[in-house]
Subunit: 239 residues, 2 copies
């Protein structure tokens, strides 16, 4: 019965939403959640869709409900670097700035729950718990970014590719033991992997075939990867 009352308080949109528990929405009171749900909407974007351009006005925030969003920065001559991957239930958007400094696009088919920036900014001022969640997520992203800087700056191509596979493997099953097996689909094309690792697609391809030749991984349909021993993969990741 208590459950019923509880569920009755929760907006329909949010009932089965992962972000309500693990994401930033978990910090909201039922009344706030209701207010926010009224102005938010779920949307599905297909792979490749540009979600927010570089130096464009950003007037919405989003939660990632499923799929993977890539954050990229480019140099003027077209060289590109992926500076972050956002998985469910990550929060998408840069508080306290109205301009995007990077572009976000759907690396896979993605579903998002989007809110007007103004509504969230108001709640941020009223509800310290929300700001706390946002701080936690931002610190997590900062840790991840700094960890990746080591990969970009100091690892070799074979180590980079192994590190990437490990990242995806761990993300697709966070509870797996360190030395377990794993199977997952790569959420990125070879070109995206290259942009994430600071390599070319040829080098990525060569390293993947090398890992396959050495029986560390198997690949089906270019996307589906099977790893018999994550420990063997980790041994190739350099750290």
């Amino acid at each position: 019965m208590r459950q019923d009352v509880h569920v009755a308080d929760v907006p329909v949109l949010c009932v089965s939403c992962e972000a309500r528990h693990r994401g930033v929405c978990g910090a909201l009171e039922p009344a706030q959640l209701l207010a926010l749900a009224k102005v938010s909407h779920k949307q599905n974007m297909s792979e490749g869709t540009e979600l927010a351009g570089d130096a464009t006005r950003a007037d919405t925030y989003s939660n990632v409900l499923s799929g993977v969003v890539k954050l990229t920065k480019s140099l003027s001559d077209g060289r590109q670097q992926i500076v972050g991957l956002q998985f469910a239930p990550d929060f998408l958007g840069r508080p306290f700035k109205s301009e995007n400094e990077m572009s976000a696009s759907a690396a896979t088919d993605v579903s998002l729950c989007s809110f007007p920036k103004s509504a969230v900014d108001r709640m941020l001022r009223e509800s310290p718990g929300l700001e706390h969640r946002l701080l936690e997520q931002t610190l997590k992203e900062l840790d991840e970014a700094r960890l990746w800087m080591v990969t970009l700056g100091r690892k070799t191509a074979p180590e980079k590719v192994a590190s990437f596979l490990l990242l995806i493997a761990r993300n697709s099953n966070p509870t797996a033991a360190r030395d377990a097996a794993a199977a997952f689909d790569l959420p990125l094309t070879r070109a995206d992997i290259a942009d994430f690792l600071g390599l070319t697609i040829e080098t990525v391809s060569r390293q993947l075939t090398r890992l396959r030749a050495d029986r560390v991984i198997r690949i089906e349909n270019n996307r589906h990867v099977t790893v018999d021993s994550l420990a063997r993969l980790a041994a190739r990741s350099g750290d």
Copy 2:
């Protein structure tokens, strides 16, 4: 007179402290500032001092009052990467985690104002303004980290070195015009610059002499750099 009253409220330790205005302490009420000042202490550390080791217990936070602190991560075989530089009045420490995941050390002589973690954590819970400041700083650091990821992943050695010089130049005089002249001391040794850029010290040295040969910079005593036109330097930074 109002000024006198105001100053009288401020702890001696904090009266002339930059962090009280631009740093996180600016979010504190006089009473909180007083309470914090009672348990904090200023300390000077000389170049090279290890401030916090990898995987050690971290039980203090600090504000950087002067000098530069480098945050580094290492791979097991000794390869090292600097993942962040902290200048005054930056906040030093990782809230909500008791273990360091990276090591911090003094890149130059440094003066710090250190607080027990517990005292700050308590204030974080009581004072939303403090958490807000911290979120702003963390977002700023995340932006910087992601910007640097492009440098690490996609720029050539000449571009990396030019980018580094620009970063230091802009930091030593944030208000300078984009095409002004600049003069500053490098806060890092060649070895540190290499670890920051993901290069070797030989390559860093070669690129610096090239910039000098091309009259983009002048160098005295290995550390003091003069730039006649920041715009010319920026033109070599790749972005």
